[in-house]
């Protein structure tokens, strides 16, 4: 009975992907599926990617990026100068820039925002993004109480001077991140203290922002609606009247909402749907590179994984192409290094390739010819179907290629984090999405004792190279140092890179004025809808 019904239904459905239109909503409103309900709309409290999408529509940092080339372009600052040692940036704030309530935007608003974000009482989980500013780390940790000693000064309303702790060539492009967004002091303090986590200032009707759009409705788990901010300095070039974000939390629901026309844009298509779209609606499918690396960490404090040869053998026995093609349906590309290729002009020269023969040789050298004498290795991952299938595939490869027995261990997210941080694992599924456009962001993870190291691995030469690169002014030499560091990392293999992420978007042909770039940066001020009547 049930079966007959299901077959009937599925047979009927398998035939086509019907395209119903979305009803009579406002013609100039972009409708976007958000992957989840944001934890907050306070740029100084959030940590997620969905929040990045939402906040980029409402706020604007000092700079913006060209969506196609990722070149730095003016944002709230119309121009800037950099000192020769790369340490002092002087920004001129755009005189036309205003807050959504009409208040002029000043350099002080940035200083205030950064002071807020760095205040220990606010306890932001992302405040370390600002630590490249001189003394910011000490202030954030409460070791320094006078913000005047932090390298951010409003020389006057229009001039902002930032002194860095070390030359950070990525400093300008980093300004698109919400952790750098300004907030309006009078707005924040109308609803509480500067460091109040539970403030109501981000509610619709309360929030004042400086971006192309302003918040008008926030109905949790249903809709977040932003409308054009008429006070925005470039409002004349903002084409959309409004954007509606629908938080979904279920990738299948997102895809169905796209099919039905409820949304124009979804960020994450379920990998299993890619084939269908390739065949039937290739015009809406966008598979694009993304600067994130999926990799396995090895616990270097546990025998036999304390032997670099064993780690390297395991890393080399992973058929990455097969994982990308079969498990990920082509929505990933094989990663042979920790850093994704062409990251701000940097591509790692060192690599870990799929090479079964060499892997076997390494394993034999380590004293385990054909896997003999090696205890079973456990792969830890958190609860998601993709992680599970990848672990199963790698389990199969290690067994087949190296004759290594592998067990799997799935844990709930927080339990998994605990186990990983306590080094209670053999091999653990990991990922790193760049915070900012620079290989340094990847390299600094694995310095001795770093919070993101989580492998127990420690290498003095590596630490030295990363430290030298941090203070290096010459860009060519800086990348050379990072190259050497990454070569050590891949040689000793506390990690095994698996794949580089790809973005899997569905975009209605109506949507125009955007470019998909590898950092997933969208600037809604340039978006438009073909159907909208001008």
């Amino acid at each position: 009975m049930r079966t007959a019904l299901t077959i009937l239904v599925l047979a009927a459905l398998a035939s086509t992907l019907p395209a119903c239109s979305g009803g009579e909503k406002s013609s100039n409103t972009l409708r976007v599926a958000a992957d989840t309900e944001p934890a907050a709309l306070d740029p100084h409290l959030v940590t997620g990617f969905t929040e990045h999408r939402l906040l980029t529509s409402m706020f604007e940092g000092l700079t913006t990026l060209n969506q196609k080339t990722l070149a730095v372009e003016p944002g709230a600052a119309e121009s800037w100068t950099v000192s020769d040692d790369g340490l002092v940036y002087t920004f001129k704030i755009n005189p036309k820039a205003k807050w959504s309530d009409g208040t002029p935007l000043t350099a002080k608003d940035f200083v205030y925002g950064w002071r807020r974000h760095l205040s220990l009482n606010l306890a932001s989980e992302y405040s370390y993004m600002l630590w490249c500013i001189k003394n910011a780390e000490a202030y954030n940790k409460g070791q320094l109480t006078d913000f005047d000693e932090v390298g951010a000064k409003a020389l006057d309303d229009a001039t902002l001077e930032v002194t860095l702790a070390y030359p950070a060539p990525y400093f300008l492009s980093m300004q698109i991140h919400y952790s750098w967004f300004p907030v309006l002091q009078s707005n924040i303090e109308a609803f509480g203290k500067i460091d109040d986590r539970n403030s109501k200032w981000t509610r619709a009707g309360n929030m004042v922002s400086n971006g192309p759009f302003k918040l008008v409705e926030w109905n949790p788990n249903q809709i977040i609606r932003v409308e054009r901010n008429e006070h925005y300095w470039d409002a004349a070039n903002v084409k959309l009247d409004a954007i509606e974000f629908y938080p979904m939390q279920n990738l299948l629901t997102e895809e169905r909402s796209f099919q039905s026309g409820k949304v124009h844009f979804i960020e994450t298509l379920l990998a299993t749907k890619i084939e269908t779209y390739r065949k039937e609606k290739p015009e809406v499918l966008r598979i694009e590179p993304f600067i994130g690396t999926y990799f396995y960490r090895f616990n270097t404090t546990r025998p036999p994984l304390d032997d670099p040869r064993v780690r390297r053998a395991l890393a080399m026995a992973i058929d990455r192409q097969s994982i990308c093609d079969s498990v990920m349906y082509g929505a990933a590309s094989p990663a042979v290094a920790l850093t994704p290729p062409e990251l701000a002009g940097y591509t790692a020269k060192a690599r870990i390739d799929f090479n079964v023969e060499e892997a076997r040789r390494f394993l034999a050298e380590a004293g385990y010819p054909n896997g003999q004498g090696l205890r079973p290795i456990e792969i830890l991952f958190n609860d998601s179907e993709d992680h599970e299938r990848i672990a199963e595939a790698i389990q199969d490869m290690w067994k087949l290629n190296l004759n290594v027995e592998v067990t799997t261990n799935k844990q709930e997210w927080k339990v998994y984090l605990n186990t990983m941080n306590a080094l209670g694992y053999d091999v653990v599924r990991s990922a790193w999405i760049a915070d900012y456009l620079d290989p340094m962001n990847y390299m600094e993870c694995f310095v001795t004792g770093g919070g993101n190291n989580r492998t127990g691995w420690s290498s003095k030469p590596y630490d030295d190279l990363v430290e030298q690169a941090r203070y290096c002014v010459d860009p060519v030499q800086r990348y050379e140092l990072l190259q050497q560091a990454e070569a050590i990392l891949l040689e000793e293999a506390p990690i095994a890179p698996i794949y580089t992420y790809k973005q899997k978007l569905l975009v209605s042909p109506e949507v125009q004025g955007y470019d998909i770039n590898p950092i997933g940066y969208l600037n809604y001020r340039s978006f438009s809808l073909a159907s909208a009547t001008p």
Binding site: E275, V327, V415
Partner: protein, 294 residues
């Protein structure tokens, strides 16, 4: 048995209750069909994997998810593993979980409910408030705690699931017992000085068998599907082993692309449940003391 003192509607003829029930059960075609089907299913999941040319973990990633064919009767999953073999292996887990966890919940629930209903008064009130309290404990958190502090074992899985599923059974049985308890034959049994234990086990529970059997047959599928959630939290089956619940869950995500991944495990689960229900109804009718008169 020859219990002359039993109230009239429990034992009618000279033959024993069970012998009688068995005779009636055999006459019920649907029940016999259910029993045969179930036996076949159990045999299949025990013996089947030995006969299948594939193992549940052998991957053919180049093949990927392929529709049913002569070489793969039920098709393959997204890693190219033979679905037929995986369903057979998964059946071992699911049937085991279904029966064991249900048995746990049945035993606790029936005894607890019957005792509470029989005791009446303050003891009943306290026992039922304990049930209320247990209802409110968040299952997710309990499973996470169990996984971490007790390790991962299949026995623990039965216990965890059984331990939450008994609550409603207890409430149903208590509801029955509370009203049965006021009937004449129980009073008579009490007057005759039968032990409480005997009254509960021999008189109250048998007369509440109807709802108990129905709810048991409802518990089994619920438990099998709950297992998928528990496995998701990392407690149940570990990859690459699978279960019907997990297979159905995975299949649901790809029902449009690879419908066979949903349909075949669903058929396996449904067939089992239909058989169970036929058998359950038959059992209930056969054991019902009143039916003996017909």
């Amino acid at each position: 048995m020859g219990e002359t003192k039993e109230p009239a509607h429990v034992v009618e003829h000279g033959t024993s209750l069970w012998k009688d029930a068995w005779r009636r059960l055999r006459r019920n075609h649907l029940a016999v069909f259910g029993m045969a089907m179930l036996t076949l299913m159990i045999l299949l999941v025990i013996v089947g994997p030995w006969l299948s040319p594939y193992s549940y973990e052998t991957q053919d990633r180049a093949l990927g998810a392929a529709a049913p064919s002569a070489s793969h009767w039920f098709g393959t999953d997204t890693l190219g593993r033979d679905l037929f073999t995986r369903i057979l292996y998964g059946g071992r887990i699911s049937l085991m979980v279904g029966f064991a966890a249900t048995a746990v919940s049945l035993t606790i629930g029936v005894l607890y409910g019957a005792v509470a209903g029989f005791a009446r008064g303050r003891a009943d009130a306290v026992m039922m408030r304990v049930v209320d309290i247990l209802y409110t404990m968040p299952f997710t958190v309990i499973v996470i705690i169990l996984t971490v502090y007790m390790g991962k074992s299949i026995v623990l899985l039965f216990m965890a699931i059984g331990a939450v599923e008994w609550l409603t059974m207890a409430r149903i049985v208590r509801g029955q017992v509370v009203s049965l308890r006021e009937k004449e034959f129980i009073e008579a049994a009490e007057v005759m000085g039968l032990s409480r234990r005997r009254i509960i086990l021999r008189h109250l529970i048998p007369n509440a068998l109807g709802p108990i059997i129905v709810y048991t047959t409802l518990t089994i599928p619920a438990v099998m599907l709950l297992e998928a959630f528990v496995s998701f939290l990392g407690m149940g089956v570990q990859a690459p082993m699978s279960s019907w619940g997990v297979l159905i869950h995975d299949g649901a995500n790809t029902m449009e692309e690879y419908p066979w991944m949903l349909i075949f495990p669903s058929i396996a689960l449904s067939l089992t449940l239909f058989s169970l229900n036929f058998l359950g109804d038959g059992l209930r009718d056969a054991l019902d003391p009143r039916m003996a008169k017909e």
